[in-house]
């Protein structure tokens, strides 16, 4: 019977939001096959972080707690992940699509001799087996992929799986797993971490993203976008053109060469919709575009369009939203 193992790669921080998403996806796959959901929580000081994970779908929680897991190091996390995979005996392993999960997946897959699919947005369980769905060619096409190996590793794009509504009556068995992590064998050292995080919600986690592009004409209008994002409980994004022009930092860039996001609402303001930008928003549930050029490709993917100079609309939009929030 299928056992699905989801991973939480926590470092010394809180549980990533992706943990609940992976549990939701794992639950759906396991339930279709009458299987079980295991969750491996890797990090330092993990004990306090696992409280609500049974309610969110885990049947068994494997804890690998080590001071050597306080910062992400591939050698340390590989050892921990292998130990958890061994203890679980799972055949499907789900990793988060953040920088840690993407780094770990090929190493883990290699050592487990498992086929690997990355950047998945859906898991399709059927009696014939499990298929992985991922966008390719910058989101212009989708692929359904079957993995032939007994064990399979998948990296799930963030915000592509739905968490389950918590069921407080669910219980999980908690198991401490020992991993042989020997820092003297590490082949590289993490010597520093420089935070680039802007204040507020992470772009990848934001339910609402307000993005600006070349059409804004300069850095100034981004202040209005920031206010709108704040009012909507979201984050500010930008096209490559706006980043290349130096109007906003690269950490804001949405697209194939920036962040790939899947908010509930995406507001594209003054963004024409180059292919490489659209690649970053294929997961957005509702796309609203404001652009003065009605021929702009962004309207080809938008659900709601406003053909107008943003300068005529944005101040009123802000006013309306302020009033609604007041």
């Amino acid at each position: 019977m299928a056992k699905v193992l989801a991973f939480a790669l926590t470092g010394s921080g809180p549980l990533p939001q992706s943990t609940y998403e992976l549990l939701g996806g794992a639950r759906a796959v396991a339930d279709a096959a009458g299987g079980q959901v295991h969750l491996a929580v890797l990090g330092a000081g993990v004990a306090g972080k696992i409280g609500d994970l049974a309610a969110h779908g885990a049947d068994r929680i494997l804890v690998v707690d080590s001071e050597h897991l306080a910062v992400y190091h591939p050698d340390a996390y590989l050892a921990a992940a292998r130990a958890a995979a061994e203890a679980s005996g799972a055949d499907v392993l789900l990793l988060p699509g953040d920088t840690r999960g993407r780094d770990l997946a090929p190493r883990l897959g290699y050592h487990l001799r498992a086929g690997i699919v990355t950047d998945c947005v859906a898991l399709e369980a059927s009696p014939d087996g499990l298929r992985f769905v991922k966008p390719v060619y910058g989101g212009k096409a989708m692929a359904r992929i079957t993995v032939r190996t007994d064990r399979k590793v998948a990296v799930m794009r963030q915000r592509s799986l739905d968490p389950r509504a918590p069921d407080p009556s669910r219980r999980a068995e908690v198991l401490n797993v020992e991993a042989a992590i020997d820092p003297s064998t590490f082949r590289t050292q993490v010597v520093d971490h420089i935070s680039e995080e802007t204040t507020g919600i992470r772009l990848e986690d934001a339910p609402v993203v307000v993005s600006g592009g070349r059409g804004l004409g300069g850095p100034e209008p981004f202040k209005q976008l920031e206010e709108l994002a704040r009012l909507l409980g979201g984050a500010v994004g930008a096209s490559r053109a706006a980043v290349d022009a130096g109007w906003v930092p690269p950490s804001c860039q949405v697209g194939q060469t920036g962040k790939v996001i899947g908010p509930d609402l995406y507001l594209a303001i003054g963004i024409s919709g180059a292919s490489q930008h659209l690649a970053g928003i294929t997961g957005a549930k509702t796309i609203v575009a404001i652009n003065k050029d009605e021929q702009a490709p962004i309207f080809g993917v938008a659900h709601i369009g406003v053909v107008a100079d943003y300068r005529e609309v944005l101040p009123h939009l802000l006013e309306e939203v302020r009033a609604a929030r007041a």
């Binding site: 498992a114 989708m142 993995v147 032939r148 190996t149 590289t188 609604a324």
Partner: protein
């Protein structure tokens, strides 16, 4: 120092969605009139390699690709930009290989070149976006791999790398030999080749290696080598009829937009 940069030739990713088509039976994109280019992150890797070569005299840079005869164009561009040597791994047995198989072929090329001190890859190819080959090839070569790298500084056989981490960048220290998958940064935007260098590149030799040259028999490319199989490739239906908001002026459009978002429970 010997730097190897692994590059992949792909269909130009800038082709607009409206003109993009797939051949569902071949499970491939239809090329149509679109050009072939070096995958964008591989260009970042190549640029980073070229800068290191310039900074450290005596460094040799080899560009390697796996592909068919058309991929020679990608190698010629690498030569024009400053690669000392280029290798094309081509064999019918390489068709349809997944990331494991590709990584094995590239690793054998690097071994046949006598090894490398630094092996650079793009962080993922701009067609299938797997992001696996660099890390898997490093495993094949039994060397460490640092992913999502923006910058590299060398000091003897010591290396410092700046990589994208969660919520910021990590600074990594390592020793050669080492592999890195490179992401885009201001500092590694690909340079433009000079016309004269493009001309000269036409006359330079291309090393071609087959599976046999690399000591690979078909069994080496199985079973994990074809572990991930593409069952289906399709263009999602995005004939999303965009609903346009009209109005006399910006104020009315903004009001109607907010109303619409409320109806959709997005506000």
């Amino acid at each position: 120092m010997h730097i190897v940069v692994c590059i992949k030739q792909i269909l130009d990713p800038e082709i607009p969605p409206a003109r993009f088509q797939v051949d569902p039976s071949a499970r491939q994109a239809v090329r149509g009139s679109a050009g072939l280019v070096i995958s964008p992150f591989d260009e970042n890797a190549l640029e980073l390699g070229l800068q290191l070569k310039e900074k450290h005299p005596g460094t040799r840079l080899t560009a390697v690709t796996m592909g068919d005869e058309e991929a020679v164009e990608a190698l010629r561009k690498a030569l024009a930009l400053g690669a000392d040597q280029v290798v094309l791994a081509a064999d019918p047995a390489f068709n349809g290989l997944d990331s494991y198989g590709t990584a094995r072929v590239l690793a054998r090329c690097i071994e046949k070149l006598g090894g490398a001190d630094l092996v650079l890859f793009g962080r993922q190819a701009g067609d299938w976006d797997h992001g696996l080959v660099g890390s898997l090839a490093a495993e094949e070569l039994a060397i460490p791999c640092v992913t999502l790298v923006r910058e590299i500084q060398m000091d003897g056989d010591g290396v410092r790398l700046v990589r994208e981490g969660e919520g910021g960048v990590d600074v990594i220290a390592g020793r050669l030999p080492l592999a890195a998958t490179v992401t885009n940064a201001d500092s590694n935007q690909i340079r433009f080749p000079k016309v004269r260098d493009m001309m000269l590149a036409r006359g330079k030799p291309i090393t071609r290696w087959s599976a046999q040259d690399l000591g690979l028999d078909p069994a080496d490319l199985e079973p994990t080598a074809r572990a991930a199989e593409i069952d289906e490739l399709f263009v999602p239906d995005r004939t999303s009829s965009c609903q346009f908001i009209d109005g006399e002026d910006g104020a009315e459009k903004a009001r109607k937009l907010v109303q619409k978002l409320r109806e959709l429970k997005l506000l």
